[in-house]
Symmetry: C2
Subunit: 312 residues, 2 copies
């Protein structure tokens, strides 16, 4: 079968690090064009400043992967759907929930495939954790997602500006795993959001959840951008049958009772593109808004605390 003709829109860091090399090796996709507002190119394929120019110039683009910042994803996806393209979205799929709902409606009405990716979900250890909790039940789960913002977003003031999500930018990766592995639905019950006195988004957040899971497990999340030293991206789990599990390395590894049972090299984006090919073959959309909905719920009902001003 010939490969599907795909274009990548937005050639920032995530496109350079993941999308371009992964599509370059894909058995399912062939990169036929790119769009870069800044005029970047890649590997000799035609490059355009705007999607409209690209759609006009390059025939037969079947799908686009949108890797721009979240603020402009909705407008670009609307344009792509109107142009008859299937669409993959980086995470989070849009800047607001209203935008996601709108894209779902438009894709369904136009018969296009819409795939909102959450890269952290695409780890074998996440699948394994999901299977474990489905079989063994859940007594407690504590998310700890702590990193040094100076290391991971050096000098990027936008993360602290309105709409920048603050510590929820990494935290939403944890929430995307959380909603995937839970044997039920979790709801934000309360939240404490800590804002630097001179910034507009939280630098730390603590969430408590209720759920519809049997046994009413204790569920919580601790997100913090003030971690010194190594980052901690893990979840501490007590299963319903008394085992201690830990999903760690951002979802790439799982241990049970202290023994690592799975640790796979990260192939998140390889798996994302395989999934996209499956969805295209089935003509089926997959748009999970639950991770961003939990963030919005936390921001809506959370208690705000103020801490020391933040400087880089």
């Amino acid at each position: 079968m010939s490969k599907r003709r795909i274009a990548i829109i937005g050639l920032g860091k995530i496109a350079q690090d993941q999308h371009l090399p992964v599509v370059g090796k894909s058995a399912d996709f062939e990169l036929v064009a790119v769009t870069s507002q800044r005029g970047l190119g890649h590997g000799g394929v035609p490059s355009f400043r705007t999607p409209a120019e690209m759609y006009a110039a390059v025939p037969g683009i079947e799908a686009v992967a949108i890797c721009t910042p979240p603020e402009v994803r909705h407008a670009i996806a609307v344009e792509a759907i109107a142009a008859g393209k299937d669409v993959m979205l980086e995470k989070p799929p849009a800047a607001t929930l209203t935008e996601i709902d709108d894209l779902k409606r438009r894709a369904a009405a136009a018969g296009r495939v819409l795939f909102a990716t959450w890269h952290s979900q695409f780890n074998p250890a996440v699948d394994e954790a999901r299977a474990l909790l489905a079989a063994a039940g859940l007594k407690s789960l504590r998310i700890e997602w702590r990193e040094d913002v100076r290391k991971w977003h050096p000098g990027q003031d936008w993360v602290f500006e309105p709409g920048g999500f603050g510590v929820f930018d990494p935290g939403i990766n944890a929430l995307s795993i959380f909603v995937r592995i839970l044997p039920g639905t979790a709801f934000v019950e309360s939240a404490e959001l800590t804002y630097p006195a001179n910034r507009q988004t939280p630098i730390a957040a603590r969430l408590a959840f209720k759920s519809d899971i049997a046994g009413a497990p204790a569920l919580s999340a601790d997100f913090d951008w003030r971690e010194q030293g190594d980052e901690k991206w893990h979840m501490m789990i007590e299963t319903g049958d008394g085992r201690s599990a830990r999903l760690f390395k951002g979802g790439a590894a799982l241990s049970i009772d202290g023994k690592t049972v799975i640790e796979a090299p990260s192939e998140e984006y390889e798996r994302i593109y395989v999934r996209f090919a499956e969805l295209l073959a089935e003509r089926r959309s997959e748009v999970e808004s639950a991770p961003l909905t939990l963030v919005a719920d936390a921001m809506m009902i959370g208690k705000r605390l103020t801490t020391d001003p933040f400087a880089w």
Copy 2:
């Protein structure tokens, strides 16, 4: 046709002021029981402390209207759906968006009718404004929803506590009208949220919207709880064909070019129960989450400002 047997859960102010008298005069519904945590009764029908006791004791309750505070609506609605009841919800339908999504799924899976009411939508002037904008187009719309919190929520500290919504408590009524009358979809583009230094929810909010409406109309909202004197609950509209319209009195009246074209006595709740009877006859749910989604979007991407401490 015999009337449908309905129970009311939660006998607070909105039940006393609206639901009980309206059901009392309804041609479609017969009140057969009430639940009041505080042990209140009404008109000689059986009264219970919990829904579970009511369902066990009173046979043939077909539907319930849930008028409790929002924090407990989800749990009560889950219980009602599981007990095989159709459900009407006061506004906002739940405390978080995740809870609304969950109720939609549960009602659909169980084949129950779920009706999330937004009372301000049920005004003839709102229908008229919707028809006007559909026919004439829209150049600009400015929501002004300003009232004195000391008059409308005297001493009610909960409105300023986390989850209390602050000025969005009245503002969401305006947003429920806004999404109903617009000839398209609006998205929060930016927001300024003003918090008293000693409180957890905004006392004022200014929102700017973008939309997919032809001509890119200017859309904004100004919510303020610090209004002195009479409340202002209105929307200033310029139509695409150059007319000035004003939807005022909270959606009960509409003027065009200074002339009042419709001003109906408020029959919001009468119309809500007529609609519920229609939905039950059609076995169809109606759950609009757009107003609460706009609030969550504003809280998620809004800029926070601090103002003077608030005291009653």
